[in-house]
Subunit: 136 residues, 2 copies
Amino acid sequence: MDQALSIAEFAEAFGVTPRTLRFYEQKGILKPVRRGRTRLYSERDKIRLKLTLRGKRLGFSLNECINIINMYDSSPAAENLQLLHLCRKIREHRVQLISKMKDIEETLSAMDSVEEQCLAQLLEDSSVDKPESAVK
Amino acid sequence: MDQALSIAEFAEAFGVTPRTLRFYEQKGILKPVRRGRTRLYSERDKIRLKLTLRGKRLGFSLNECINIINMYDSSPAAENLQLLHLCRKIREHRVQLISKMKDIEETLSAMDSVEEQCLAQLLEDSSVDKPESAVK
DNA sequence: GATATAGTTGACGTTAACGTTAATTAAGTG
DNA sequence: CACTTAATTAACGTTAACGTCAACTATATC
C-alpha cells in the first residue's frame, strides 16, 4: 500500500510536477530516499506534501508551510520548554485560521445576498417578458 | 464620514503602501477621482480594496480577486443572460470557498489533537519531575 | 550493443506583486 | 518668494515559486 513511489508517480498522485517535488526537497519539505540517484517517496513525504499543499490553498507561503509542518513534526518527545513553545505556536496558528474562516463566512453570506438579488431580478424579468402570465 | 481620502491616508487605513494602491489602480481594481493629478479615494474604492485584501488573505491571486469583485459589481440591472452567468460564477466560487473551509476545519482538528498530546506530555513530565506530588 | 525510457543535475527564464529610487510638480507656510 | 511637504510618473529591482531546457546517466528491451 505505502510502497515508495517514483517522482513521476508521486507527482501525478498529487497533481504537481516533478520539478515542484525537487524544489520542495531543496526547501527541506521532502526528503525522499535514494535508490542510486533516483528518488523514492515514502509515506512521510506524502503527509508532508499534503500539509504543504493544504497550506498553499489557504494562502500560506511555502516558508509558512514549512513552519506549520515542523510544528506537527516536533511533537513526539520534545523538551518541556519546546512543548510550551509548540503550544503557543499552535494557539497563534489557530487564531490565523479562525480569522480566515471569518473571511470565508463573510464572503459566503455576501454571495448569498447577491445571488438572492440576482434570482429576484430574473423572476421580475421573466414576468415582464411574458406579460400573458402576469395578466391572466 | 465618507469623505475622499488622500493616498497616504487611504493606504494607512488599510495597512498597505501607496505603491500598492497605484498598482491596484493600474490593474483596474481602484479608480480614485483626481483633484489635479492627486488621487482621492471614495467609498467605492474602499469597498473594492476591502474585497481585494480579503481575497488575498484567502489565497486568491489579484486576477482572481478582480473576477470576484466584478462579480459583485455587475449585479444591478444586468441582462438576463448575464444574470444567469453570474449565478453560475457564484455557485463555482461558493464551491471553492467551502472547500477552503474544509481545509481549515481539518487543520484545526489536527491541531487540536497535537495540542492535546502536547498537554498530556507536559502533564506527564511534571508528575515525573516532581515525584512527591505523585507519591503523596 | 543500439536505442528508447525515466530520472538526475545544473542553470537560466518567467510571472506576480509589489519595493525602491529618481526626477518632477503642486500646495501650503513663514 | 524661498522652502518644506506630499504627491506624481517612470523605470528598474526584487522575491517567491516554480517552468524550461540542455547535457548526462542508468536501466531495460529488442
